[in-house]
Structures are given as C-alpha cells and as structure tokens.
C-alpha cells in the first residue's frame, strides 16, 4: 500500500486537487467561488496529464542543434526526452480553461448588473423560486 502511494504521489495530489475543485464547484454559494473551484478543477486535470508525460531521466523535448536546413541528420533516441504529446494536449486544455473563465466572468458581470449580487440563494430569491 505504501509503495502504491509513494510511487504515484503525483497522481494522489491530482485526485486531491480535483476533489477540492469539485467540492467547491458544487457546494459554494458564491458564483465567483464556484468559478475559482472550476479553475482548480481544470488545472488538476492538467497536472494529471503532465504527470503522464513525465519520464525518469527524460529531458526537455527540444532537440539541441539549431534548426532549419541540415538538421535532419540528427539521430535522436526517444528515451532521452519526455513525452511531448500530453504537453500538446494540455496547451489546448489551458486555453480552453481560460476561454471558459472569460465567458463565465462575462456572464457574472451581467448577473451582477441585473441582480446586484453574486450569492446564488439571493438570486434565486429574486427570481422567485
């Protein structure tokens, strides 16, 4: 059991952060707090993906030796570099996260303009539900 925890501690932290975000998204009354929870939730998933990409003894996935013409002859071994695919996926996911935040904040500003509050129960009271 200890061995499982020690050898995968990154994944355990990912689970913990994910649960923090999920809990905050579902139980917080303030809409901005929900949004903060949402950000933590998304970054936890990004942490998970980057942890997949990590490789013991791997270096940054940039091949030294300049670029442009004439570099095609370099011989590269995959074990020396970390896995680049999760990084690519997560660049997309970060941008998706920022876009979500942007739209949600725009909606929050409009909610505040119409209801004068960001507390969910007060808004519900105003709507008469």
């Amino acid at each position: 059991m200890l061995e499982i925890i020690v050898s995968k501690y990154n994944y355990w932290i990912f689970v913990f952060l994910l649960i923090i975000g999920l809990y905050s998204m579902m139980t917080k009354n303030n809409l901005m707090k929900k949004l903060i929870g949402m950000n933590i939730f998304q970054w936890a998933i990004i942490l998970y993906f980057i942890s997949i990409g990590a490789k013991r003894g791997g270096s940054v996935p940039i091949i030294p030796g300049g670029h442009g013409h004439g570099v095609q002859k370099i011989v590269v071994h995959a074990t020396g570099y970390v896995n680049p695919l999760p990084h690519v996926l997560m660049l997309t996911a970060i941008v998706v996260g920022v876009a979500t935040t942007g739209i949600a904040l725009a909606i929050l500003v409009r909610i505040y303009n119409s209801y004068g509050t960001l507390e969910e129960d007060e808004i519900m009271k105003e709507l008469g539900k």
């Binding site: 994944y11 579902m26 996935p61 013409h69 695919l85």
Partner: protein, 92 residues
C-alpha cells in the same frame, strides 16, 4: 444544507472511484509505460526529420495535431465573440 451534503457525497464517491482507478496505473515517471512507448517515440525520433522543427512540442502542436490547434484557436475566438456579444453595448 442538503446541497452541501450532496456535494460532499459526490466528492467522496469521486474520490473513492479515482483511488480505485489509480491502483492499476503504471508508476509515475516510468519510462516504459504504454503512453511513452506507443505513439510518442515517433514524434521525438522523426519529428525533426519530417518537419525541421527542433521544438517537438511546436512540431506536434502545429503539424501532427494541427487540427486540434485550429479548433483551440477557434475556442478562443468563440470566447471572444461570446464576451463581445454578452457585454458590449454600442452608442445607443
């Protein structure tokens, strides 16, 4: 109060489920895990030969999976247009 309870319940269920799932994962940073040996070696070994770009992340981002990046930019565009539509008010 019930909402708090339901939230905690769902969080705990997710926690237990994820913990079960984590047990069978390969060890962290294992060079021989399937994710590191199936698709990605081709990017590292052939990337510079096929695209001429030393930064493999850029090569994969813009070329091998360039279609993802097109839609990633479209996501940003969507967000921008959405915020413009939701908030912007012109002169009357």
């Amino acid at each position: 109060m019930t909402r708090k309870f339901v939230g905690i319940l769902i969080a705990v269920i997710a926690l237990i489920a994820l913990m079960q799932g984590l047990k069978d994962l390969p060890k962290w940073a294992d060079p021989n895990q399937p994710a590191s040996i199936h698709v990605s070696p081709r990017y590292i070994e052939k990337g510079i030969e096929e695209t001429g770009v030393p930064n493999i992340v850029t090569a994969v981002l813009a070329d091998y999976r360039g279609y993802d990046t097109l839609f990633e930019t479209a996501v940003i565009f969507t967000a921008g247009v959405a915020v413009m539509m939701l908030l912007r008010r012109s002169k009357r």
